[in-house]
Symmetry: C2
Subunit: 193 residues, 2 copies
């Protein structure tokens, strides 16, 4: 397949902001069960091969999981400090869990687990996130298996259907909005910043 036309701009931004580790952090907005917005920082883990889907990881015990199960829509806001540009990616989220029927996606989840550091993996064995603070022993579990993911480890995929790219450099600034039509084709429009 051909990559979406916004992919080259995002790749360029990632490249030019590479010296900042936190340039791979973005903010993911979802909708809470009571209808209020939720928003948290999340780490970009690359694209799912041969797709325009962005990969993230999450814990099945996190609040965002129940939000996503109820309502798949999300907007990722990604600001790049060095190049002073922002991408807003609107789309739907898919959770890939241990019960995932698609074998290739199950394998992607497993490889993602294997690629994590020990320090990242062990957090999935910690006490439940957001619950009253547990004592120190709850944060010193045995190291999880390095090959088989813990069941609460989830791969999270964002499939954008709209991308709003704003470049603050320039006077006036440049802004383009990409839309994916129902037949899967992307079109782009230059708009006022």
């Amino acid at each position: 397949m051909s990559l979406a036309p916004w992919r080259s701009h995002l790749a360029h931004a990632l490249h030019r902001n590479h010296s900042l580790p936190y340039a791979r952090y973005a903010q993911l907005a979802t909708v809470r069960l009571d209808g209020k917005p939720a928003n948290r920082t999340i780490v970009f883990r690359g694209f799912l091969e041969d797709t325009d889907q962005l990969k993230f990881i999450t814990d099945a015990r996190s609040e965002k999981l129940e939000q996503i199960v109820q309502f798949q829509w999300a907007e990722l806001c990604w600001y790049f400090p060095t190049t002073r540009e922002q991408f807003r990616l609107t789309g739907t989220l898919d959770l890939i869990r241990d019960t995932e029927p698609d074998e290739s996606l199950r394998n992607v989840r497993q490889r993602m687990w294997q690629d994590l550091s020990d320090q990242s993996r062990i957090q999935f064995a910690w006490a439940d996130s957001g619950k009253p603070r547990a004592d120190a022993t709850a944060f010193s579990p045995p190291s999880p298996n390095e090959v088989e993911p813990l069941s609460n480890f989830c791969l999270l995929l964002l499939e954008p259907i709209r991308v709003d790219h704003l470049e603050l450099r320039g006077d006036p600034q440049n802004r383009s909005i990409y839309h994916r039509s129902d037949d899967g084709e992307w079109n782009v429009e230059a708009v006022n910043p």
Copy 2:
């Protein structure tokens, strides 16, 4: 009045990240008219005096305006790179426009306008944001009056009722959730990260 207990932590983060201009940028999530989440970068402009309300500015022609009019709830996600900590501030948004009945808030809006750079003020005279790209003349309007704000200039106030503070430094990380009760008192709970 006494400041909310999370204020000292936020002030400390602002101070320790002061060398990064973009440490004053945060991501504001709201809900679109169709129920989907929206998320964009916004610049923190200080606190409204003697309150715990965060100040921002926006253009009445922006999409977020109609979102806020329909549904006041928002969540601001604020990541500080130097100190590796995140604040998630959940609360309601208030728009202060030229028709604002409260004189002191009208004055705050006017002072905010006066404190902007020429470069920031002129953007409120540019062609409508998000509309098909106008020609260059639409971005070279006469300089607006420096004293009286343009009518589409809005002050935006976020009044938090919940603040989730996560410090990534530390093993395990530290996380505290602050809640404001109906009588206006804040309580805090240490939770698992």
